[in-house]
């Protein structure tokens, strides 16, 4: 009798066999540094959005995204309802809040969102020592921090642009002839993309720089919220007290307003938050350069902190 026949007789109904195939060396592709950077970028996205983590990790990022989107949705619904129940174009006649006003309305929520989520990308790696494992892979400190920066920029861009897209689609669809609305307002798209990008770069850089100074997420979050919330009333009050050029320069340090001034310049309109800021009188060139400085300088500082990092 053959061995197979014997086995079949002894174990009727057995159709499979388990083999221990032992250790297999990897002979496939190694994609090098490009794949490593992409992996850190992807992990940054997942961390920021709580993907692959427990339910609690998803609450804050998803919650903030929903709040920001709901603001855009409400603005679109109000404009749509007014146009539908009064006359088409009435919302514009009434000068209801639109694309140029959105960042002024949502800026503080966006800043708090960044303050809460950004530390998660850097602080945990530092506190738990995971950063040491990245640095022994084909990644430099610069690769790590740039990948994390781009990951968080993507999340903040999504948070900044998604409500604008919802608002644009809402206004488009509430128009009796959507194509006419598109023809008349397509230029809002590059404007909100540009203003949103500036807002996202500014928020991302400041939030990650703050997070880079501590391994405790809570410290970074509280400091950031304090920075954005406290500088606004403090600089407004001091600028009014001082008046003149000194007041204008003090007003420049209102961290909430820095990207909003650029948004105003892009849209050619003035948001409610920046209307009373003396810094406006310094002109678009100074305000744009000031915002660029607040992106480039903290960015360079952030990069220099990670550039020579070793485990």
């Amino acid at each position: 009798m053959s061995a197979d026949a014997t086995r079949a007789d002894l174990h009727p109904g057995v159709t499979g066999t388990v083999f221990d195939i032992g250790y297999r060396n990897y002979t496939g592709a190694r994609e090098g540094i490009r794949r490593s950077r992409l992996a850190v970028y992807k992990d940054g996205l997942r961390t920021a959005l709580g993907i692959g983590r427990g339910g609690r990790a998803k609450i804050l990022p998803i919650g903030f995204m929903v709040i920001l989107s709901v603001i855009g949705l409400i603005m679109a619904l109000i404009a749509g309802a007014i146009d539908r129940y009064t006359s088409p174009g009435m919302s514009r006649t009434l000068n209801l809040p639109s694309h140029s006003d959105y960042y002024g309305i949502a800026a503080m929520i966006l800043f708090v969102f960044a303050a809460v989520v950004a530390p998660e990308l850097l602080c945990r790696d530092k506190r738990e020592g995971v950063i040491n494992l990245y640095l022994v892979r084909p990644l430099s400190g610069s690769d790590y921090i740039l990948s994390r920066w781009f990951a968080f920029l993507t999340v903040i861009l999504a948070a900044a642009l998604l409500p604008q897209i919802i608002l644009f689609l809402g206004l488009l669809l509430s128009d009796p002839v959507p194509f006419n609305y598109f023809k008349a307002h397509w230029y809002d798209i590059p404007k909100f993309l540009g203003a949103g990008s500036v807002m996202a770069m500014y928020t991302t850089t400041l939030a990650l720089l703050t997070a880079s100074y501590t391994a405790r997420r809570a410290y970074a979050s509280v400091f950031l919220v304090g920075l954005f919330v406290i500088t606004a009333p403090f600089t407004i009050g001091l600028a009014q007290e001082l008046g003149g050029p000194a007041g204008q320069w003090v007003s420049m340090f209102n961290l909430t307003n820095i990207p909003l001034h650029v948004s105003d310049i892009i849209f050619g309109d003035v948001a409610e938050l920046t209307k009373i800021a003396p810094a406006r009188q310094l002109g678009p060139t100074v305000l744009s350069l000031w915002c660029a400085l607040w992106i480039v300088a903290p960015g360079a500082l952030l990069w220099s902190r990670y550039r020579r990092l070793t485990p």
Partner: protein, 306 residues
């Protein structure tokens, strides 16, 4: 050092921090197999590892890892693995997800990374627990995850920094078995950094002993113990007479417990023992060759400079 494919080499390697010399003009090669690097804290072990990984630039000299200058080629790290001594694991993700991510971070495509993560978890005995968050793992399991992340991209060479730190005796046994398996079954050469000589002796083929930034010893583990082999004798009576008879024949002999310990193990030693036993009328109870443990070796004599 023994023959074999040279995987790491240090040539006149020095690393100086402001007031401290971590490595002082050291040269050695590390070949295929499991090599132990021994030394007290501050001996230069971690500095040497960091230079080979390209994380530190040497002050002078050259460190080659897999034939490439480690401080000039970041890409060589795709073929190197590193298990740090300290905590380095995220608490809120599963081992499967973490290892997949680490494989991708080492340059593997996503599909291959997932397959490698599953394979590596199976080989390190964590397959059943792979979907649990790492934060809930025991110390032994966390050490296994640390080893697994060092192996997940199938490196040619892996650095293990104190892999048994913090483990209970059972966990330590299992980790040492895994280290041996890493070379024997996976074909991955290992540099095993430790200050525990017993771990190195049981696991490694060769050792390098660093002290104060210098290489104090290097070679086969077996050779060290062979060189200092002893013969242990127990007699029922006339022990002192036997000792005198042995010393008269020029044999180095010491009292040890209830018996005598004689340096060397070649044929002449046994001839002297035979003659001394006859002369002293000492009834022999036990005669056995014995190898010294590395620990004992370094305790008894200052090691020779290589």
């Amino acid at each position: 050092m023994s023959e074999g494919k040279v995987l790491l080499s240090a040539e006149r390697l020095s690393k100086r921090y402001r007031a401290v010399t971590a490595l002082d003009d050291v040269s050695f090669v590390i070949t295929d197999g499991v090599t132990g690097i021994l030394g007290e804290n501050g001996a230069g072990k971690s500095t040497a590892i960091k230079i080979f990984l390209g994380l530190l630039r040497p002050t002078s000299g050259v460190a080659l890892a897999l034939g490439e200058n480690a401080s000039e080629s970041i890409a060589v790290r795709t073929r190197l693995g590193y298990m740090p001594e300290h905590d380095c694991l995220p608490s809120n993700v599963s081992a499967a997800e973490f290892l997949t991510h680490m494989a991708e971070a080492s340059g593997l495509p996503p599909t291959a990374a997932r397959a490698r993560a599953a394979d590596t978890l199976r080989h390190t005995g964590l397959f059943e627990e792979r979907y649990r968050p790492i934060g809930g793992y025991s110390t032994g399991m966390k050490q296994r995850v640390k080893l697994a992340q060092a192996l997940v991209h199938d490196p040619a060479f892996v650095f293990l920094d104190e892999p048994t730190a913090g483990l209970d005796p059972m966990g330590r046994e299992e980790m040492l078995a895994l280290v041996r398996k890493t070379h024997r079954d996976f074909g991955i050469s290992v540099l095993f950094s430790s200050h525990l000589m017993a771990d190195v002796e049981r696991t490694c083929d060769r050792i390098i002993v660093l002290q104060g930034g210098h290489v104090m010893h290097e070679g086969e583990v077996g050779r060290f113990t062979q060189d200092t082999q002893t013969v242990f004798i127990e007699v029922d009576a006339n022990r002192d007479a036997l000792m005198t008879a042995l010393q008269r024949r020029g044999v180095t002999v010491t009292l040890e417990g209830g018996g005598l310990s004689i340096e060397g193990s070649d044929q002449s030693v046994y001839d002297h023992v035979r003659d001394a036993l006859v002369e002293s009328h000492a009834p022999l109870r036990r005669l056995a060759p014995r190898r010294r443990a590395l620990t004992e070796l370094f305790e008894r004599q200052p090691v020779a400079r290589a």
